[in-house]
Amino acid sequence: MSRNEENDKTVRTDGVDASAVPQAEADRGTDRGTGRGPAIRRRSFMQGAGATAAGLAMPTVIRGLKTARAAEGKVKIGHIEDLSGNLAVYGVQKFHAAQLAVKEINEGKTLKGGPVGSGGIGVMANYAAKAPVMGDGDKDLKFVNKGGDMTGTGMAFVQDEDVLIDSGESGLLGREVELIAPDGQSNNNIWQQLTRRLIQEDKVDCLVAGFTSAEREAIRPIVDKAKQLYIYTNQYEGGVADSNTFCTGAICEQQVIPVVDYMVKTFGPRIYTIAADYNFGQLTAAWTKAFAPLVGGEIIQEEFVPLSVSDFTTSIARIQAAKPDWVFTLLVGSNQSNYYPQASAAGLEYPMASTVNMAQGYEHRRFKPPSLNRMYNCINYMEEIPTARNQAFVKRWYEMFPDDPYIGQMAQNTYFSIHLYAKAARLAGTTDQESVKKALESGFSIEAPEGAVFLEPSTHHCSHYIRLATADAEHNVSFVREWPSIQPWWLQRIGVNLVKHKEYKQYIPDEDPFFSMFGKKK
């Protein structure tokens, strides 16, 4: 299953020094970086520095916890996604991402990055203090789309082009990594059974799983009972504060706020929200409602659509009657995707914004233009991101899976998350789960295909490189605005600190006094 090549297996002898591996990685990074632009050299320096800082801190944090299990045997990564049934569309992508990451780890590759401390300075040091150039016409757009130009006058920041480097060993801690990936069948009950199996039977070292929030909530009680290290890689509504769970997908505050800000300023304040009638849709709509007034926007109407609805004639007429400046579409699932062709055929030509479409289900590839004309979406990853590092990633992907239709946002999240786990385990020097959790809480940064991602220790969520993507009348994707690092701040603001206080719950905006002043529905 894991398709790993069994060659070049340089097995290292026993106990790996906790700080040695990131240090070695950093060194190698410097070697590779030689002769490149100054920014890269600076980057490498910072990485080295971060690693050193972590190395200093490490003895107290990690060494004492080295109650590692026997080093022999494979490192087991449990991975549950839906390979059949309704959600297989997304599950198969994520499964392939996991296979690619595991293959690379076994071949002795790793993504750049390392512990940079809890404040995450390592990430920010990579960029100039000045805000990146905003897209305002063709001229400037080009710069941003190419991720900056070394000699250009408008350059604001730069990213490493080559982020996949040698890890200095094959496998992880000298052990081969094995991917155990059963099929969730788009059925919550099977998810629970499989989670129990992976934890109790296979005794996986790390669990990477979950597409829908319902799936995550189905397995989280089991995960918490077993104190299993669990990585949830999906974009979602936010709010999970769980000591065992690390959420590596983007959440509302990272996506809704930038896109609403941009849309209100560009197209006008009158917003019509049409959202899927379940947790994600309702909570994202609540975020929109709470945030829009702060930038001068106004929700003129909200409509919630049950997931089973696939005929949108009435909703389209309601939008026309309301005459908004733009429409915020938070529609989820394949039934609800029908909205786009139907709205387009009915002559609905309002600009649209979303946080879900295109990046997950590649609607811009599946629907005939111009269904998604003037669709704006804040994403942390799309296959089209024009940076060199992403193009290299896309190339590697299609070499392994030539028949895949698209690489979505969640697939990329899974990919870097598994690399992130490997780096944390190397830092901990063990696959002992408590140690790895501690290592992950040391302020980890990783150079993902999207850009640098920083795992924020207190909330177990990630900062992301957010881009505002838009599709034109021919469904060509361009990126009109970029935010190199947006922090997940909401949980911090309501006082979550998982490093200090263990918690196992999901907060919803109603629990935040800041939100309570806005009614939720109707």
């Binding site: 919550n188 009950n189 199996r197 189905a218 049950p306 089973s308």
Partner: protein, 347 residues
């Protein structure tokens, strides 16, 4: 034959005679010893297969013995589960919380089934419409529960949780004692046995005979002086309570329930179990429910993308070659092979 033996061993279900009962005893012994032989995970998984059995039994009772097909019995499964979650969750400080919750859950599903059943049976709605009516009810419930994500859908201290479901549902227990792992497995096993033998006795009683008579010929039974509406209603409520029992055990097993548990895909499952095993036998449905749950899990556990294709093809083949249910027809076949045992059973 004493009265009790006649009730248990009567002709309402397949399986009679000493050979059969010794096999049953052996199987039960196997189930009783099972937890000591396997891992905790396998025990909890087997508990899951077991906890679905009351739902299947309710289906067999209603459809196989009474001739009324409900396509929405998962609604009562869900109602009991959610009610338990709400009640036990609100009484989480009280030691009797889970017990009150369980009784409350069963009561709520009985009341809802009672009202709906009254609406259906006392109006003498045509039989073939009942599956669709019940299906519409469960779809309504799913649509409603799916949009209860917000705080305004809080009952006491418990959030309904919308599509993501209700989490943190307490396990069942008395006072300090909680049913978990192996003890939960035994709880399921005991309840399944109680349901099975209880139903077997009920169906061998006079009441059961009339129920079967209603299935065979409603008009004839009515013109023998029976209010068939009342009997159908009673059977409907009883089967809903059985579905509710499965729902209770389900939420205690996973401490969690979502609206998709009452959706279209889940709604079809009990009907499938019953049809595959053979709706006219309780035992057949018990076996089929257990086996199909096991099969679904085993196939998905392999990560095999063909799992659904295999299950689908299996259903088609089963129904082609065993139209009255695989277990029932195999049992009949066995009966013919063992004429002596059969004669003995007659006595």
């Amino acid at each position: 034959m004493s009265g009790l033996a006649r009730l248990v061993g009567g002709p309402a279900d397949i399986g009679r005679g000493p050979v059969f009962w010794s096999l049953v005893a052996l199987t039960l012994l196997g189930f009783a010893l099972y937890p000591s032989a396997v891992s905790e995970f396998q025990v909890s998984n087997t508990a899951y297969y077991l906890l679905n059995i009351p739902l299947g039994l309710g289906m067999a009772l209603l459809w196989g013995y009474c001739g009324v097909l409900s396509f929405g019995h998962v609604a009562y499964f869900g109602i009991a589960g959610y009610s338990y979650g709400v009640i036990a969750g609100n009484l989480s400080d009280s030691p009797s919380g889970p017990v009150v919750g369980a009784l409350g859950g069963l009561l709520v599903s009985a009341v809802v089934a009672g009202v709906f059943g009254y609406f259906v049976f006392y109006a003498r709605v045509q039989k073939w419409i009942i599956p669709i009516l019940t299906l519409v009810l469960t779809l309504l419930l799913e649509t409603f529960l799916g949009q209860t994500a917000g705080y305004q859908w809080r009952i006491g201290s418990v959030l309904l949780g919308g599509y993501n479901g209700m989490t943190g549902i307490p396990s069942f227990g008395f006072g300090e004692f909680e049913f978990q792992g192996t003890s939960f497995y035994y709880l399921c096993l005991v309840l399944v046995l109680a349901c099975y033998f209880g139903l077997r006795m009920l169906l061998n009683s006079g009441f059961g005979q009339v129920v079967v008579a209603i299935r065979e010929d409603e008009l004839r039974t009515e013109t023998l002086g029976y209010d068939i509406r009342a009997r159908q209603w009673a059977v409907f409520v009883l089967s809903a309570v059985l579905a509710g029992l499965s729902g209770l055990l389900y939420v205690q097993w996973g401490n969690y329930i979502t609206p998709s548990q009452v959706g279209l895909l889940q709604a079809a499952l009990p009907v499938i179990w019953t049809a595959v095993g053979g709706s006219t036998s309780l035992l057949a449905v018990v076996i089929a429910t257990f086996a199909l749950n096991w099969l679904t899990y085993t196939l998905s556990s392999e990560g095999n993308q063909y799992a659904m294709v295999i299950i689908g093809a299996l259903l088609v083949v089963t129904m082609l070659f065993f139209p009255r249910g695989i277990v029932v027809m195999l049992a009949e076949h066995l009966d013919r092979l063992l004429p002596r045992a059969r004669r003995e059973a007659r006595r």
